[in-house]
């Protein structure tokens, strides 16, 4: 399919890049990314992916927009308070770029639905705020052989890593099991600076775009941490392969998805 004149203009700053070109832009338009969680991380990730012309974007979230979300979840506006987050996110993305098809899934992710949710997407973005969901996304992506970007943010800190099947460790290689409920503070308990979602969520979008284009070095085999107070990025090298990982190791002991108990304070994605 040839580009329309409008597309040539819209994507001109991409097309002029030798790493993208018209071939790369075509790849983006033909690609699909699923974002789980339309919140602090998912909002900027979704917006940059939509603006970039990722042709199909799925967004999963069971929540409604709350006034306390708006300090960081920039895909939603004051007028959206009370609206389903997936609907608000879809409206914003479609207004940004009519080339994008947005699929909405107003649901929690669970062992019952996650394999179905991820199966048609090229890349998955974990924008959730709780460990049961983060471990579930990891295990499902390992089992379904899907690449994904993990990220977490709290206070003035953020971190992310990218999993690509066969190319490095998974989230469970690093963090073997979810911590007990309330052992590690959540954003709701501890707070998070609004722009942190912008920094880390945009990096997740960047990883998805690089994966789709097949360019550069992904954060596979590394955990990138960001400390805004000290203004420091730190890239931690991880072991290449974790033979004893319970889900991606030589002899996996986790062969079925697990629904861990959620912390009481964050009962939704």
């Amino acid at each position: 399919m040839a580009f329309t004149n409008e597309q040539l203009e819209r994507y001109s700053r991409h097309i002029i890049l030798k790493e993208v070109g018209s071939k790369g832009q075509k790849k983006l338009l033909d690609s699909s990314v699923l974002i789980i969680g339309a919140g602090g991380l998912g909002a900027p990730a979704a917006m940059y992916l939509a603006a970039s012309g990722v042709g199909t974007i799925g967004i999963a979230d069971a929540d409604e927009v709350d006034l306390s979300n708006l300090q960081r979840q920039i895909i939603h506006s004051t007028n959206d308070v009370g609206k389903a987050k997936v609907l608000s996110a879809k409206e914003t993305m479609e207004a940004m770029n009519p080339d994008v098809t947005v699929n909405t899934y107003r649901t929690f992710v669970s062992s019952d639905n996650i394999m179905d949710l991820i199966k048609d997407y090229d890349f998955i973005i974990d924008g959730t705020d709780n460990f049961p969901a983060k471990f579930l996304i990891n295990d499902a992506c390992v089992m379904a052989k899907k690449p994904f970007s993990h990220a977490g943010i709290i206070r003035f800190k953020g971190q992310l890593m990218t999993y690509v099947p066969g190319q490095g460790p998974c989230y469970r290689c690093v963090f073997k099991n979810p911590p007990p409920k309330d052992a590690v503070p959540t954003c709701k308990q501890a707070g998070v600076i609004g722009a942190m979602g912008g920094v880390i969520g945009s990096l997740q979008a960047m990883e998805a775009i690089k994966y789709i284009l097949g360019i550069g070095d992904l954060l596979t085999g590394y955990l990138l941490t960001y400390d805004a107070i000290n203004m420091e990025f730190h890239k931690i090298k991880l072991p290449t392969y974790t033979h004893n990982c319970a889900v991606c190791g030589d002899n996996p002991t986790i062969t079925e998805l697990i629904d861990y108990e959620q912390a009481e304070c964050d009962g939704v994605l």
Binding site: L41, D129, G152, K157, Q159, V184, C187, A190, H234, T242
Partner: protein, 68 residues
């Protein structure tokens, strides 16, 4: 001895183990921290028996659950 902790060179007395370094570095939620030395994971059960040596590169990896 000189070791690198989270990318920063530091001086520590010889012979300390991982558990002691976690204490000296005032690691947040020490029960749940993941540790690597020279890019390899240290099993939680080996924090007492693993002695840090001159030149080691130690990293602490923390659970970060937020995102919404």
């Amino acid at each position: 001895m000189t070791i690198t902790v989270a990318g920063v060179q530091k001086e520590y007395e010889d012979g300390i183990n991982v558990a002691k370094l976690i204490e000296l570095e005032d690691v947040e939620t020490p029960e749940y921290v993941t540790v690597t030395i020279n890019d390899d994971f240290v099993d939680r059960g080996a924090f007492e028996s693993t002695i840090i040596i001159d030149g080691d590169n130690v990293e602490f990896l923390y659970f970060m659950g937020g995102g919404h």
